[in-house]
């Protein structure tokens, strides 16, 4: 603990522990936030790591009791901008204005929602076996629509349609679950 206190010189041990918990618990949300702004990039993990570093460095700026995700998203936003800066605008899928609009909307969305990862896990469990397998293949490391199509002897379009329907089904399930939780 003494060591961690040295890393977070301005935080008390309990605050440090709390901060580490928040940082760890919200990794998937931060990943989703960054991914939404860098849809075509292979560098999402790098930007997430840089964001984590900045969050650690600025840990004393976070006010306990305020919305951690909202604060972390703001930090992540500037890391995304820095990524675009360093990689030139030519490589941008989205323009700066669109990034800004998406960042604002997604910050509100992610900061205001309960644990979506948990909800999504529950929805995945409700999928038919074949759909679950398709999702697992698509999201396994190196997985793609093309590779699944090749493996299954189907057309890319057919696999794409199947994935679209499964995602739609998951989307509906997530929204219903969230609405149910918020209504409780």
């Amino acid at each position: 603990m003494a060591l961690i206190v040295r890393i977070f010189p301005n935080l008390k041990p309990a605050e440090t522990e709390n901060f580490v918990q928040l940082l760890t618990a919200n990794q998937s949300r931060l990943y989703a936030y960054i991914r939404s702004l860098l849809p075509d990039s292979q560098s999402v993990q790098d930007v997430l790591q840089e964001t984590n570093l900045v969050l650690w460095r600025r840990s004393e700026e976070f006010e306990s009791g305020t919305n951690f995700v909202a604060w972390a998203c703001k930090v992540a936003y500037y890391q995304v901008l820095a990524y675009y800066r360093d990689n030139k605008r030519d490589s941008m899928v989205f323009n700066v204005e669109l990034v800004s609009m998406l960042a604002k909307q997604n910050e509100e969305k992610l900061a205001g929602s309960p644990d979506m990862q948990r909800v999504l896990s529950g929805c995945l469990a409700k999928l038919p076996e074949e759909s679950r397998r398709l999702i697992q293949e698509r999201y396994a490391p190196g997985g793609s629509v093309q590779s699944i199509a090749e493996k299954q002897g189907r057309s890319v379009g057919a696999v794409s349609q199947m994935l679209y329907r499964i995602r739609q089904s998951l989307q509906e399930c997530v929204q219903k679950s969230l609405a149910r939780e918020q209504g409780e």
Binding site: Q105, Q117, I135, S144, G157
Partner: protein, 475 residues
Amino acid sequence: MNQNLPPSNQEQRNPEEIISAFIDGLLTDEESQAFLKRLESDESARELYLEMMNTHSLLQWEEGQTEPLPDLFQTPVEANVLKPAPDPANESARKQLLFTRYALVATLAACLFLSVLLVMESQPIQAEARLDSGDGVPAAMIIEEHNAVWEKTGWTQDVSKPLVPGWLKLKSGRTLIDFLGGTTIALQGPAELGINSDNRAYLKSGRLAVVGTSRNQNFTLTTANLAIVSQSANFGLLVNPDEETELHVFEGSVQVSPSKSRPGEDIDQQPASVEPLVVEAGQAMILDSQGQLQAEQVADASQFPARNQFTVADPPGDIPAIDFAAHEVLPYSFQDGQFDLPTHHQIIEQGKGIRLWGNAWKKVEVNKEITPNTVIEFDFRCSHEGQIHGFGFDSDDQYGPSNYVFQIYGYEDRPGIGQHFNTYTGTGWKRFRIRVGRYLTGKQRYLHFIADEDVIARAESQFRNVRIYEAPTQP
């Protein structure tokens, strides 16, 4: 790539279908452009995109595409067994557990790494053993010399190039050395100095002074019997031929520990580590060859080389300052106003100065041939700190990693931005005189000035009395 795709006419595809195809990289260029236009203009389309993209990202996270997390905890046998399709809920819990374990392992690894660093920083250091010029990574550079005579042997390095970890032997004269970690030392011959890294050195014999320090990195200086850790301290150190050591602290404070090992001795035979001794500004201590305190004194800066002894000479004759009113001040590269942030400049002091604010990188055409002796001199002040305040030269208008930028102020410490002169303290005018030719040479068309703040564009920089000249030879 797009063969066998569903109908490409977006009129026939609902928005979810288009987003799903976008996520899978299956839209044609034309479809992508239409989709992006829709995103820009339609808030509900953005809302839908974010919902689907977040689900996609969480699935990536859930299914482990983002990190090779589980392998850390799998035995080889487990890894080779073909597993039945797991229940996603259990799978999720397992992955969360694995992630937690992974995070724990990563944290422990980081703690271990930091522990090692802290031990290295705060405890005695076996400096000589760490000298290794094999990797050739520059650690320091000589920026000024006065009558310096170097001894070139098989074990010393070529001082005309950036210094890599290795030995320097200064027979006489004095020299100013910038460590790339941000510390500057003045070395006075005769002296033998080992460069361990960009923030660590070993004084075998002779006299030196730490005359400039990094705000961000500690600097560790070791001798045969001492390890001195400094952050933002200026101090002098003398090691005489009998390995008696004198330490004089002029500004700040340093932590002193006995060296764990002396060259050639067995580490295990050394005494146990002790709490570091803090030596404050104004204090001096003399230690014998065993590291035992012999006497305490008042620090005496006159015994050591000082930075002002290395000050680049005044301009030869009357070198006119740049008249900004007579120059066109233009945006520099893509940096000026980047991210559509505000960028402004104003000519001040009847053309003798320029003020920048916002997220501003402004250039003027100077067309200078930078030689190893070229110096730039200017006054700088700042009323609002941004990420980077500084300047740089460029032969064209294309900023890139090869362009050397001199940072003189600012809270950001980015790789590739020179930190050696990042010494402004945030109050009033400060004069900088920098031998830029030690860092870059050749024909430079532009000189640019920086008030960089990519976050909220509130940086402010003022430069005045900017002169570029060839340094006269000094005795």
